[in-house]
Every structure is written in structure tokens, then in C-alpha cells.
């Protein structure tokens, strides 16, 4: 309670006219983080559900934890040469490599969020709590920190704040950050050297997807892909850890099971189509394996389901998810340049989602208008 007294004591300095009025949003963000504010209802319903966006976001972050923790371990496990490490040593090694990326992502992103909330005179939105965790998880561990900082800043400003902040953006901010790195510094997010920390001597090792693209086969077994002991972006390798997160998201209803299911269905369907064509070795890779290698599962569970950028109607969600799965596998198989298709598939469908919703809502409008004609 003493903390509360202290907060109350310093609060006036951050109010309008106070010494630190320019930091009002920042103060407010920290205060409401520490304490659910004592605001009472003034209009409308007198009682309210105790769920708020902070809760929604923290569940998302919790759901990311298995994949993140495993990802840290895997960074150690995949490290370049050196003595044999225990599981804990591997984790600690990875933790020290990944933590700076997380810190950079949060510090850069939150600073911009705080500043723009201050300008708009709004409360700071919680959206970046999730975005800030997603960005480190979808880049290779070798990504330079300045690049992470630049990409985060670009994504928060151009993809989010320009559109009006959390809830208004069209494209998934974490994916935009990754796309920024991908298009601006292609070499540092693809190829064979980026998947390893401290890779000064040019240790190389291709991901399963690029091996597929080259030869139609991969050295990593299905079991490796399920557990996640393969090279890849920090959080995307372990299918099991991702599914643990998916379970939490579905059980709490925080993310849409419709989208997850339909992304997997779409990917499987497209994979089967290519199996049937079977023009080259890559196309003959069993369809279901697409779902567990690369960023497919991570994208389906954590990226495609972002409620702001996904389709918003239930019917729309089925279509949107299915198309992501289809496109991701399509891009993987027919695009010669880059072996991964999930990022582009989701970003593309983010752009299409409002159109899908438009037609779903339009059907509702037509039902209503038909009634008018019947009545006449």
C-alpha cells in the first residue's frame, strides 16, 4: 500500500501543468500497469466484465512463452562449435543472446508508443506488449540489434501509429518489422549463416526449407521439427511448444480457433494439390510436413490470429485462414527466391481481410434488404 501512496504523491507532477506533464502518458501506462485504475462507470452499463485488453495481451504473451523458452534453448543447442553443453547451459547461452533483442524491441517500440499516446492524448495501448515479444521471435538470432531497432521503429510508426494506433492498423506490425528487415537487408535474414549466434567464422547450415527447395529432402527429421531442434527464427522451430501456446489461446478464447484450424487446413489442402502435381522433388514432400517445418505453425497460431489485422466476421475468418495456408505453401513451392512463404501469405491476407469481411457483411445487408422487398 505504501507504493500506492508513493504513486499518489508523485502523480500530480505528471498531470497537466505539472513538472513532467510531457510524460503523462508514460506515467499513466506504468500506473495502470501496476494498478487497475479505480475508474468507475459513468455512462451505460453500471457493472463491467473484469476482462480488459491488458488481460487479453498478457495471455498472448504467456502463450508465447513455451516457444520463446524453447527458442532460447535452441539458440544454445544450435550454437557454433564449442564444448558439449547441458540443457541449462544451452538455455543460458541462448537467453543471453535473445534477451538483448527483446530489450531493444520493447524499448524502441514502447518509447514510440508512449510518445504518440502523449501526442494524441490517449492512454497507452497494450498492443505492443505482444508485438514487442513477437518481433524477437520471428527474426534469426544473428540479426544485428540496430536492425531490430530500425525495423521495430519502422513498423510501429508506419504500420501502426500512422493508421491511428492499436486497433486501427491494417497489417500485422510484427510481420511488417520482419518484412522490413527482409526487403532492406535480405542477406541478413536469409542464406545459411544467419541462424547461428556469434557466427564470426561463417559457419553455415541451411534451414529445412532451403534444403527442401534445393533437393526436396532435408537432413532434419520430423521428430526434430516437432521438438524444434533445427535452425530457424528464434521462436518458430518447435511445433510442440507452439501448440502448447495454441492450447492456451484456444482454451481462453483469446485467439480464434477458426483461423488456426483453417490455416492448417489450407496449407494441407495446397500441399496435397502439389503432391498430386508432383513436378519436382520439392512438390513431392508430404503435404502435412509443410505444417511443422519453417514458420508455418508459428504464423498460424500467433500471427494470423491477430484480431486487429485478421478478418473480423466468423465466416470471414474461415476464408481468411484457409487462404493464408494455401498461399503460404504456394509461395514456398513456386517462388524461386526465398524458401519461406508464411510472412508474405499473412501480410497479403491482412490486406485482403477487409474485403472478405465486406462481402460477409454485405450478405447480411442483402438479407435485410430482401426482407423489405418481401414486405412490400
Amino acid at each position: 500500500m505504501d507504493l500506492r501512496k508513493y504513486v499518489d504523491k508523485i502523480k500530480p507532477a505528471f498531470e497537466e501543468g505539472g513538472k513532467f506533464a510531457a510524460l503523462h502518458s508514460t506515467f499513466d501506462a506504468f500506473e495502470t500497469f501496476l494498478y487497475v485504475p479505480n475508474t468507475r462507470t459513468s455512462k451505460g452499463s453500471h457493472v463491467r466484465d473484469c476482462n480488459d485488453l491488458k488481460r487479453v495481451m498478457i495471455i498472448m504473451v504467456l502463450a508465447l512463452m513455451p516457444a520463446l523458452i524453447f527458442g532460447m534453448f535452441n539458440v544454445g543447442y544450435q550454437r557454433v562449435d564449442g564444448p558439449e553443453y547441458t540443457i541449462l547451459q544451452n538455455f543460458w547461452y541462448g537467453f543471453l543472446k535473445v534477451l538483448p533483442i527483446i530489450i531493444v524491441s520493447y524499448v524502441v517500440g514502447l518509447s514510440i508508443e508512449f510518445a504518440s499516446s502523449q501526442i494524441r492524448k490517449e492512454e497507452v495501448n497494450e498492443g505492443f506488449l505482444v508485438t514487442g515479444m513477437l518481433i524477437p521471435m520471428i527474426v534469426p538470432v544473428g540479426t544485428p540489434l540496430w536492425m531490430v531497432a530500425l525495423a521495430t521503429a519502422f513498423s510501429v510508426v508506419v504500420c501502426k501509429e500512422v493508421f491511428g494506433g492499436t486497433g486501427m492498423n491494417i497489417f500485422n506490425p510484427a510481420l511488417v518489422a520482419r518484412a522490413f528487415i527482409f526487403f532492406s537487408y535480405t542477406a541478413s535474414i536469409s542464406g545459411e549463416n544467419v541462424w547461428f549466434a556469434d557466427n564470426v567464422d561463417g559457419h553455415s547450415g541451411a534451414t529445412a526449407l532451403s534444403q527442401w527447395a534445393d533437393t526436396g529432402a532435408t537432413q532434419y527429421s520430423v521428430c526434430d521439427a516437432l521438438i524444434g531442434t533445427i535452425p530457424g527464427c528464434i521462436g518458430e522451430t518447435s511445433t510442440i511448444a507452439i501448440l502448447l501456446g495454441a492450447l492456451l489461446l484456444i482454451a481462453t478464447g483469446v485467439a480464434s480457433w477458426r483461423i488456426m484450424l483453417s490455416v492448417f487446413a489450407g496449407g494441407l489442402a495446397m500441399g496435397l494439390v502439389f503432391n498430386a502435381i508432383g513436378a519436382n522433388a520439392y512438390m513431392q514432400v508430404p503435404a502435412w510436413q509443410h505444417l511443422i517445418y519453417g514458420g508455418f505453425a508459428f504464423g498460424a497460431v500467433f500471427m494470423a490470429t491477430d484480431p486487429v489485422t485478421a478478418a473480423q466476421t466468423n465466416t470471414g475468418k474461415w476464408i481468411y485462414g484457409f487462404m493464408i495456408g494455401v498461399l503460404a505453401v504456394l509461395i514456398r513451392l513456386v517462388n524461386p527466391g526465398y524458401p519461406e512463404g508464411m510472412m508474405m501469405a499473412i501480410l497479403f491476407m491482412n490486406g485482403i481481410a477487409p474485403l472478405i469481411d465486406h462481402y460477409v457483411v454485405d450478405a447480411n445487408i442483402r438479407r435485410r434488404n430482401k426482407r423489405v422487398k418481401l414486405a412490400k
Binding site: T39, R48, G167
Partner: protein, 446 residues
Amino acid sequence: MSKIIKLKKGLDLRLVGEAEKTLDTLAMSEYYAVYPTDFEGVTPKLLVKVGDKVKAGTPLFFNKYKQEVLFSSPVSGEVSAINRGEKRKVLSVVVKADAVQEYENFEIKPLEKCSSEDVKSVLLSAGLWPMIIQRPYGIIADPADTPKAIFVSGFDSAPLAPDMNFVLKDQLDNLRKGMDVMAKLTAGKVHLSLNAEALGELNKVENAEKHLFQGPHPAGNVGVQIHHIDPISKGEMVWTVGVQDLAIIGRLFNTGKVDMTKIVALTGGEAEKPRYVQVIAGAPVADVVGAQKAEVRIINGNVLTGKTVAYDGYVGFYNNQITMISDNSEYEMLGWAKPVRSKRFSVSKSYFSWLCPKKRYNLDTHLNGGPRAFVVTGLYEQYLPMDIYPLYLLKAILAEDIDKMENLGIYEVVEEDLALCEFVDPSKSEMQEIVRRGINLMIKEN
């Protein structure tokens, strides 16, 4: 009897403080009041001044923009105060009640000989016309119109709502008369919706087209019922009337007197003794609730749609319920991160309310967060049992896009229908206010 209409969407919010089924009769209070602000869209013009003697049924004011619509005194006595707010807006007209009540006498012809004009003129002059509400818009009906049909909801499904079968058990004759009166006003049918699980006394009202509804709140909302019985399309109009108001209308036609006696349920976790109380409309809230308590919010109506009323305020014109809940709101350290918040309720599975579906909550007025942009999707639809996309409708209203609002169903909803969406909203938006803004915009544009 038609088949049961089963609704799945919605929520029965279980609160403590349900009214015990005992009836207290409130003795005559000293003052009674009418709030012009109870009537949506009405600009009052006064017909009385302080010191005037009035009887029960004497008009106190009329609507400036619909002059034949009168609002009358619920009791006889002397006008003791006319309270005004900013810009001299009339907030309340207070009448000091006589010890012995006198009533205006209204000449009532036998109903079979009445035309719809006769019926309207009685209702208008007695000041009971404002009980008839028009849809779309949820405003007082225009006497010049003839509605497609008239709808009465025979049950209230809101949190802690009064059991209408208990409230109206001695009013069946008045209800039957009221139904006959309504039948005069429309060329179509008069519909009465009942709770399929508790038909009760109201099932004995024969002279109406009955419909059975089953499911959680807002199954009792007349708007939801209309949507499932005969939805309102563009260019159509129906009227609605509250079931207890219908009994008061019936009483007028049975006795020739405006007798605003009604039963309200005193409910809520902070109510001393939750029970049913017989009052005259406009009675002082203090006389109903008993001693004043600090940090308690008194609500004219239910927790979802009611209006806050001061301890020295009065029972509202349309209200059948008074709810008292705690208004003491504290900071809660890291509340949003706690795995369990046993005193609070959430429909979200990220809390554990769903593990105890029978538990009753003593909710306070805590907003439980701060206002945000709409983020979550697929949630609101689960609490509006209509073929309407609530989020798209709300966004159309915010964008003031008249065409879209019309296309997305603004004619079919009023505030109360979106109240549950507002309750569950993690973005803490003011949906009921947005809906009213949209409706007012439609009225202005048409």
C-alpha cells in the same frame, strides 16, 4: 400457442440481491416527482407553476414538438418545486402529495364502441400515452401513426429483474383490458412474449398473440423478440409497451382514473432487504430503499441499462426495479495479471468465472480498465441474439454513415440491446451511448 423460440446468445449475469417474493406497500410519501429526462427526445413545456393544485392525472407539461403528448401528475397535491438545470432545462417537477388522493375523472366509453381515435384521446389526455414507445428509435409513439403491430414483453430477463408473474398476479383484468385497448391502436396483431420456462399468471391473458422465448438475457428485451417474431424493416413501424405499464393503461380504462400504483423490485447487493415494494410512480427513492448508505450507487432500473439516481431522487416513470450496488472503487494492484479475481466476473475464459456457473457476484461500479480502440473480434456477436453485426453497426454510427447504419440494422436496436456487448467489452467503450447517438442522427436525417 406457437412453438418455443430458443435463443442461445446472451448472458444471464448472476448477481446477489435478488428480490424476495414478499410485497411491502409503501405508505403515501410526502413528495412525488416526474423527470422529463425519463422521456427520450422530449422537450418539456410546463403547464403548471409552483403552488398550483393538481390531481392525479392532471397534466404537468407537454412535449414542445408533439404538443398533444401530455405528461401528468401521478398524485394529487400541490406543485412544490420545478427544478431546472443548465439553460433552464427542466429536470424535475415535484408535487407535494395530499393526504387523501383525488383523481381526474376520464370519461370512458365501452371499448367496443370506441374508435382508435377515442382510445388515443383518452390515453393522451390522461398522460399515459408516453408509455407507448415506437420502434425504430425507442421514442414515444406519434399518435398520428398506425403501427404494423404492437409488442409486449411479458418477462424481464435483465440482472435481478422483477418477476412479472409475481408483480402482475393481481392485475390480470387490467392486463386483459390493456390488451383490448392496444388492439384498437393497430390494424395488426398485439403480441405478448412469455418466458417459456415460467409461463405463470401472464399465460392467462388470452387476448393477445402469444410467443414463447427461451434463453439467457436479452431474451426478455422486446427488441430481440420483435427481431424473431416479425423484424422491423426500413419504412415499417411497430409500437411497444411495458407489461406493467399496460396494466396501468388497462386500469385507466377499467376505472376512469389515472392510478399510477405499481410494484418495483428493490434489488442488489447493497439493498437492505431485497423485496418487492408497491409504490406510486414518482415516489421518493429514499422511502423505498431505507436508510442512506455511503458509497452505494442507486440505479433506477437494472445494472445494465438503468440510470443513476440520487438518494433524494424519485422512482422513474418506466422503472420496475431499483438496484443498489457498491460504488466504492479501489485501485487493484496488478489486478489484470492475477490468475483469479474471485470477487469479479468475466465471460472470458482467461479468468475462472466459468468454473462456477452458479455463483452469484456482488459486482461494483468498477470500470475494470480504461477505454481503448476496438481490438477483439467475435466476442460481441455472442451477446446479441439478432442477425446483426454489432461491431460493424457501431463503427457505421461512429462514422456517421447513414446508409450503412440503415443497412446494418439501426432500425432494429435500441440501447438496451447492446448493453450486454458493452458489459463484456474489454475495450470499455460506451456502446449504449453510441447507439443512442446513431438513433438521434437517424431521427434528424429522416
